[in-house]
Every structure is written in structure tokens, then in C-alpha cells.
């Protein structure tokens, strides 16, 4: 399926299993029967959306409600088993698709996973050594604070340094999120401009790298927040 077109929920030119006419949506336009879901259908295609990262959340939600109503198994109680199963399958897929696309961050993760850029494990790249060093050091200073607290050192001073650490990590996180926003815009522009696969891959590699960095920093934010809650 071409990445640049508005994709539909079935491969173009797929024939309806029931009437044989061309059917390229969740339902056959000619006879109205529910259609099977081709393997590897992207969640974007599920909502008949182009593979862009900026999605209007309200339109998505509306589309979700509309589809979940149309695909709902209750509508197929009197249909045969084949159609009943299709409705079940599609309904559960719909929920997964909505969950993945609703949140801007999981949307990026989904896009990269769908394109084979972010496989759990296999395609993982090591983070740059400087980043790991930095994260490790920040973790170590957090550890020192923890130990100081356990040793009963001055709590007020400790709290102050935790708070400044938190602010520091929050700023870093905001920085990464700004980078992510930037690259989202770039991606959408590239899709719009029918960019080549290799240009698209470059943008995805950047997104991947930013997501990796983000997960380390987010981890630090969570750890320091936990410390602060205990302090």
C-alpha cells in the first residue's frame, strides 16, 4: 500500500466476498456486507486517515464512535458466523487502533513499529554513549540523595536539591518533546510532499532516536518524583 495516499481499510481493488464488487472500506459499498481485514492493515488505514502524525483528536473520536457503532457485534446477531466473526475481529481491532492513535506519543511509537523501525529488541539501537553516561550520572546523584536521606541528613537541603533535579529533568523532557513536535511536523510535510521512502526513513530514524532518549529522561523524571513524594 502506498504510504502517501489516503489509505483505505482494504487493499485497493479487493473484491467483496459476498457480491464480488470492488469493496475498499469496512463495508462493501454495493451490498453493504462487512469486509474481512487484510493482514497488516495499518491503524491509520482503519480510520481512512493518511499516515500523518498530527490528527484532530475530536474527528478521530467521532470516527471511532461511528465505527464502533457500525461494527458492533450486536448488529450482527442474526448474520451468519462468518460475518459475526468479522464484526468481533474488527471491533477489537478498532479498539486497539483507537488506543494507539489517540495519544500523540503512542501514535509515533505505533507508526515506527508499523514501519518496522521500532521492533522490540531486534532493531533496537544503542543510545549514544554520552547520553548513557549522563543518564547514569544523574541516576547516581539521585542515589546519593537517597543515601543522604537514609543517613538522616538535613531534609530541607535534600528536598531543595531534589526539587532542582526535578526541574532540571522536566526541562530536559520538555526539550525532547519539543524536538518530537518538530519532527512530527517534518514527517507530515514529507508525507504531504510525497517524499521518497529513503527520506521518510531518515525522518523515522530521527523519531526513533528521540523516543529512545525520551524514555531515559522520563525514567529519571519518574524516579525523582518518587523520591520527592517520600522526602
Amino acid at each position: 500500500m502506498s504510504m502517501t495516499q489516503t489509505s483505505s481499510a482494504t487493499a485497493p481493488g479487493t473484491k467483496c466476498w459476498s457480491c464480488g464488487k470492488i469493496a475498499d472500506g469496512h463495508f462493501c459499498a454495493a451490498c453493504g456486507k462487512i469486509q474481512p481485514l487484510p493482514r497488516g492493515t495499518s491503524y491509520f488505514a482503519f480510520f481512512a486517515l493518511p499516515e500523518k502524525l498530527q490528527i484532530d483528536p475530536e474527528a478521530l473520536e467521532q470516527q471511532f464512535h461511528k465505527l464502533s457503532w457500525k461494527l458492533h457485534p450486536d448488529n450482527f446477531m442474526r448474520a451468519d458466523e462468518f460475518e459475526r466473526n468479522l464484526s468481533l475481529e474488527r471491533s477489537s481491532e478498532l479498539n486497539d487502533a483507537y488506543r494507539a492513535l489517540r495519544d500523540p506519543l503512542t501514535r509515533v511509537e505505533y507508526l515506527l513499529a508499523h514501519k518496522g523501525m521500532r521492533k522490540e529488541g531486534a532493531a533496537k539501537q544503542q543510545a549514544p554513549p554520552e547520553l548513557l553516561e549522563e543518564v547514569f550520572e544523574l541516576n547516581e546523584s539521585l542515589d546519593e540523595l537517597r543515601e543522604a536521606r537514609a543517613a538522616g541528613e538535613d531534609l530541607a537541603a535534600l528536598r531543595a536539591s531534589l526539587e532542582s533535579a526535578e526541574q532540571d529533568f522536566q526541562e530536559k523532557l520538555a526539550g525532547v518533546d519539543a524536538e518530537l513536535d518538530q519532527v512530527r511536523t517534518e514527517w507530515d510535510a514529507a508525507i504531504e510532499a510525497n517524499a521518497t521512502e529513503s527520506d521518510l526513513s531518515k525522518v523515522m530514524a530521527r523519531m526513533n532516536e528521540i523516543l529512545n532518549r525520551r524514555s531515559y529522561i522520563r525514567n529519571l523524571v519518574v524516579s525523582v518524583a518518587k523520591e520527592l513524594a517520600d522526602a
Partner: protein, 140 residues
């Protein structure tokens, strides 16, 4: 998440926590991270250049219980082994020993990656050539 007894045991009594002198030419340092969860692990080994036997191993891990247990186990296993024997340790060996569930496999991968990274650092320091396959990420 229910951890296995072995994981809990290592978690409560981690072996060989600490660090070695990074600048010592006989010490190899491996610092690796798992982008899936943002956890980081540092593993260091002191290797006798004459015998190629790993004499000391230390780790420090900021991560989940499984990652701590995996690195603790890794330091135990590499001690007394030669560089080549240590490089043969697979993350699947760790998974088996600690009875890690599938969602925790990446934690053991981190430990295997750390061993490999530390030893390739040592080799570089010794002026040895590092085999490209050794620095690659572990099998998942």
C-alpha cells in the same frame, strides 16, 4: 509482577555492586541501556592480560529487579572465566537461570550487552581488534 525466587534473592543480596577504576588499562567498562524502559546498567571487569582470566567484576544498575538480578548473576558468572568464555554467555542462559518471563527478556539482554561492551572496551584498551559480531546486540 511476580518475580522468581532467584530474582528476589539476587535483588535483595546483589553480588558485586560497585565500580572499578575506569582508567585502569586492565579494566573494561560497559555501559548499556534499554530504550524500552529507560533503564541503564554499568558492568566492569578486571582482566589479567597474561591469562585473560576475569579476576574481578562489578556492576551498578538503575533498573528493574530483573535487570539487577541479571547483572548480579552476570558478575558472578564471569568471575574466573576467560574473556572468550565470558563472551559465550547468552542472555538465554540468564533467562533460564532466573526464570524470567517473556516481558523481562530485555532485562537479560541488557546484561549480555553489558558483558560484551565491557570486554570490547577491555580489548580496545589492550590494543586488540574487536570483532564486529561481538559488539552487536544480543539475540532476542
Amino acid at each position: 509482577m511476580a518475580y522468581s525466587e532467584k530474582v528476589i534473592e539476587h535483588y535483595n543480596n546483589p553480588r558485586n555492586v560497585g565500580s572499578l577504576d575506569k582508567k585502569d588499562p586492565n579494566v573494561g567498562t560497559g555501559l548499556v541501556g534499554a530504550p524500552e524502559c529507560g533503564d541503564v546498567m554499568k558492568l566492569q571487569m578486571k582482566v589479567n592480560p597474561a591469562t585473560r582470566v576475569i579476576e574481578e567484576a562489578k556492576f551498578k544498575t538503575f533498573g528493574c529487579g530483573s535487570a539487577i538480578a541479571s547483572s548480579s548473576l552476570a558478575t558472578e558468572w564471569v568471575k574466573g572465566k576467560t574473556v572468550e568464555e565470558a563472551l559465550a554467555i547468552k542472555n538465554t542462559d540468564i533467562v533460564r537461570e532466573l526464570a524470567l518471563p517473556p516481558v523481562k527478556i530485555h532485562c537479560s539482554v541488557l546484561a549480555e550487552d553489558a558483558i560484551k561492551a565491557a570486554l570490547s572496551d577491555w580489548k580496545t584498551k589492550q590494543g586488540e581488534e574487536v570483532n564486529a559480531a561481538e559488539t552487536k546486540s544480543a539475540a532476542h
